[in-house]
């Protein structure tokens, strides 16, 4: 026996030592999970959540689903039954984010039924869920408790002030923090503005307050920081010039849904015939699209198409310079809005070619395959429409024609369910002078304004309505529609906000 040991080669000794050492480590690893004090063990052997896609994130309306990734196969039932989402400040609120659960292997996706309401902190907790292996009939080890938080952005909107020092300036109001700041300097009078999709800045057109002659035609395009959504509050109000008006006057502009592209309608000062659309991508120099001249236009969410009113129809133009028009809808006179996914748009048919429906306007849903679906007819006007975040409901500003002694148009705001085509009026308005609508990204609140004109105010050159009358003052209203059409018995809440201004717009 002794001789045999001596015959062992170096490799035998080395291998046996290695095997014994590794056996010891293996035993320690296996037993480590058994040495526990209270909740803690020498080695935590339970399954755990490896990844939560919304961990400590600001989640906006575009985020529709989160993913939980486990490191072991889980008992799906135990996860679904124990997953708890609460609002941190109001833990008593039951099921604040209803949604659907789907699984792919060790990953669970939770798709929200509707965007998470803004201005909240949410906590996701998962305890007591258990692992479950294919070959096992009984539940395995319990998940290591998991808690994570995410939040939704503050509810913030911007408007053009009309009172005192705020007149003509861009005002930002944070509903959640109840803070109001003027973003733009006193010398600029804002004509129109559009927030960038990340909410960190706002694109606006403005002219110098001293301008007397051409009014809004002297506007230039600027960008201003909001200091929101991860931006530093200190940097709110920093302005840079996006497009000047030295050679060309700026008539209208539209920002693409992803914020990467800007389309501007400009006219050359020296040669007024030279008018058309220009595209600016990622702050590069503007490129002329060289399309036939048109009117109101909108960039489709795919960034490839511009819907522009041309003649008596809607032309679909390419965003590439010198390209042929992509299509023409002779039947429609106006594009009001695109669905968030860009596959459909609502358009207005003025029924000029249909003697039976003369003086009737029809709202159509037109998809990108060219399929048209009539939503409703009205004798009144269809002024503005916006889709909700999911794209299955419309909020519209409409009018009813009251055929009394005089023909009077009574404006009202309605919601339309696109499945049932049911039009449900929410509130009637006293007047519709250039009323602007803005639906909050989480679809909880609808802002609109009511402006009052004063023909006597001749010194004002820029803040005018579409019909050229000077805007004297304005009020901003918040309408909170019922969350579901079944609850239409409960009256929508309407509130006048304590701000003097017009053109309110929610930030994304």
């Amino acid at each position: 026996m002794k001789k045999q040991f001596i015959d062992l080669y170096a490799i035998d000794r080395a291998a046996i030592i290695a095997i014994l050492t590794l056996s010891l480590i293996t035993i320690l690893l296996i037993l480590g999970g058994w040495f526990c004090w209270g909740d803690r063990c020498l080695i935590e052997t339970g399954p755990k959540v490896r990844e939560f896609s919304w961990q400590d994130r600001i989640v906006n309306a575009e985020d529709t689903a989160f993913v939980l990734k486990f490191n072991r196969p889980m008992s799906r039932e135990s996860v679904e039954n124990n997953l708890k989402i609460t609002i941190t400040e109001r833990p008593e609120a039951e099921d604040p984010l209803p949604g659907k659960i789907s699984w792919a292997g060790r990953r669970m996706a939770y798709t929200l039924d509707f965007p998470a309401p803004y201005g909240n902190n949410y906590r996701v907790e998962l305890q007591r869920a258990t692992e479950k292996f294919q070959g096992s009939d009984h539940p395995g080890k319990t998940l290591q408790p998991f808690t994570a938080e995410f939040k939704t952005p503050d509810r913030v909107f911007a408007y053009i002030g009309l009172e005192g020092k705020e007149r003509g300036r861009l005002i930002l109001y944070n509903f959640t923090q109840q803070e109001k700041i003027s973003l733009t300097p006193p010398h600029l009078v804002i004509t129109e503005f559009e927030p960038y999709p990340d909410g960190k800045s706002i694109l606006f057109g403005a002219a110098d307050r001293q301008v007397t002659k051409d009014g809004f035609l002297e506007q230039q395009l600027y960008r201003v920081t909001t200091g929101l959504y991860g931006g530093d509050k200190e940097i709110a109000g920093q302005i840079d010039l996006v497009l000047d008006n030295k050679e060309y006057q700026i008539l209208k502009f539209d920002l693409s849904a992803d914020g990467s592209m800007l389309v501007v309608q400009r006219v050359k000062r020296e040669e007024p015939k030279d008018a058309g659309l220009w595209v600016i991508r990622d702050d590069n120099a503007p490129l002329a699209l060289n399309n036939p001249p048109g009117g109101v236009f909108l960039i489709a969410p795919d960034n490839q198409t511009i819907a522009s009113a041309q003649g008596e129809g809607i032309a679909l133009l390419s965003t590439q310079p010198d390209a042929e028009p992509l299509g023409f809808f002779a039947q429609f006179g106006m594009v009001l809005a695109f669905t968030p996914d860009g596959t459909s748009a609502v358009m207005v048919d003025f029924n000029r070619n249909n003697p039976d429906l003369l003086y009737t306007r029809s709202l159509y849903l037109v998809n990108n395959q060219g399929r048209e679906e009539k939503i409703f007819d009205t004798k009144g006007s269809i002024l503005n429409c916006q889709f909700d975040a999911v794209g299955d409901r419309l909020y519209c500003l409409l009018t009813n024609l009251i055929e009394d002694v005089n023909y009077v148009e009574q404006p009202y705001i309605a919601t339309i369910d696109l499945d049932s085509k049911k039009v449900i009026p929410l509130t009637t308005l006293p007047q519709y002078q250039d009323t602007h609508l803005s639906l909050s990204p989480d679809t909880v609140g609808l802002l609109f304004d009511q402006t009052i004109v004063d023909p006597q105010l001749t010194e004002e050159n820029i803040l005018r309505t579409n019909s050229g009358e000077t805007i004297a003052t304005g009020t901003i209203w918040l309408l909170i529609p019922p969350t579901s059409l079944d609850e239409m018995d409960t009256a929508p809440q309407l509130e006048e906000l304590p701000f003097i201004g017009f053109n309110p717009k929610w930030l994304p």
């Binding site: 490799i11 080395a14 291998a15 480590i25 690893l29 935590e44 060790r106």
Partner: protein, 339 residues
């Protein structure tokens, strides 16, 4: 009867999958013998045991062969006098640490890049560690089968003769070599000579080509036989212990790793495609156990044990198997617990 058919089908599929790689490995190893100056190559191999085994583990990047192709190359390295650490490092890591396998793993597990990363890290770590352990054995002959060890002895003798005389011209005597071609012992000598002549002005040498072919045929005969044997055993085990049975052992992190390691050893699937095979289990098993399959399978499987028996004594294969299995288990269980 149907089980017999199944076993035969599995046997054939294993062979069909493995033979191209075995041929590639044999061609590479023969080419190594004839077209590379192994003295220079081996003299460049690091003598430091840890560095040597690490370099050996990374050589797979130059020889993209799977676990059937690496055996002839490792065998050649050992008989040519490469440090044991280099040869063992290569033997264990080459099937995983090569561009084709890494790419295939990436394609299969694109959404779990950690699997690709840890497959590389664990394989390198295990191969380097075992290479280092084997470096304690300075003389490789006690590890090897007697026949193979003799070749090393002859090579060493030839080498010492050469050194003492320092006259490579003596070895260039064509008539002497031709007369003895065909016997394995002397073929090594001929090969050595062929390589040495390579340093001289290059001429096409018909003899050299014949020697190359002779070596290829001999290796295919030896290794092919072992591959057939290994594949037959692997196919029989798969029929007797079906995959479902093995998979059902996986009931927690520990047993699922063990089940996947047993599965890897039994199915003997080639490392170039094993990532796609194991992808099917990714939802029902832990990442740790998938890693165990991907790390352990290419190192040790039943089909390759047959081939390894052509190099090593059974006891050495047991050491290789045991240490590789233990290291795989410890690393992948730690991954399951701590990541």
């Amino acid at each position: 009867m149907s089980q017999l058919y199944n076993a035969f089908t599995l046997f054939l599929s294993l062979l069909v999958e493995a033979i191209p790689f075995l041929l590639l490995g044999v061609l590479l190893s023969s080419a190594l013998l004839f077209f590379v100056d192994e003295r220079q190559l081996i003299s460049k191999m690091p003598r430091n045991p840890l560095l040597g085994s690490f370099v050996g583990s990374c050589v797979g990047f130059l020889f993209p062969v799977c676990e059937c192709g690496n055996v002839p190359v490792a065998r050649r390295l050992l008989t040519q006098g490469a440090p044991t650490s280099v040869a063992i490092g290569f033997l264990l890591a080459a099937p995983t640490i090569n561009p084709i396998v890494i790419w295939a793993t990436w394609v299969a597990f694109r959404d779990q890049p950690e699997i690709v990363v840890f497959r590389i890290i664990f394989s390198l770590f295990i191969a380097t560690t075992i290479g280092w352990i084997f470096s304690f054995q300075k003389d490789p002959r006690p590890l090897m089968q007697t026949e193979l060890a003799k070749r090393v002895i002859n090579r060493l003798t030839a080498s010492s003769n050469r050194d003492s005389e320092n006259t490579p011209a003596l070895l260039r005597s064509g008539t002497f070599l031709l007369a003895k071609s065909g016997t394995p012992v002397l073929m090594e000598e001929q090969a050595l000579a062929a390589t040495l002549t390579k340093n001289k002005p290059k001429t096409f040498d018909r003899n050299k080509l014949r020697l190359f072919l002779d070596t290829v045929i001999q290796e295919v005969r030896e290794l092919g036989g072992m591959l057939v044997l290994g594949s037959a055993i692997a196919a029989s085990i798969q029929v007797l212990a079906p995959r479902e049975l093995i998979l059902n052992w996986g009931q927690d992190p520990i047993t699922s790793i063990l089940a996947m390691m047993v599965l890897a050893a039994v199915v003997s699937i080639c490392s170039t495609v094993d990532a796609f095979f194991v992808l099917a289990f990714s939802s029902a098993f832990t990442t740790g156990s998938l890693l165990a399959f991907l790390v352990f399978g290419p190192m040790i499987d039943i089909k390759a044990i047959g081939l390894m028996l052509s190099i090593f004594k059974p006891r050495i294969i047991i050491y290789l198997f045991a240490i590789a299995a233990q290291l795989t288990f410890v690393l992948t269980l730690s991954y399951s617990y701590f990541f």
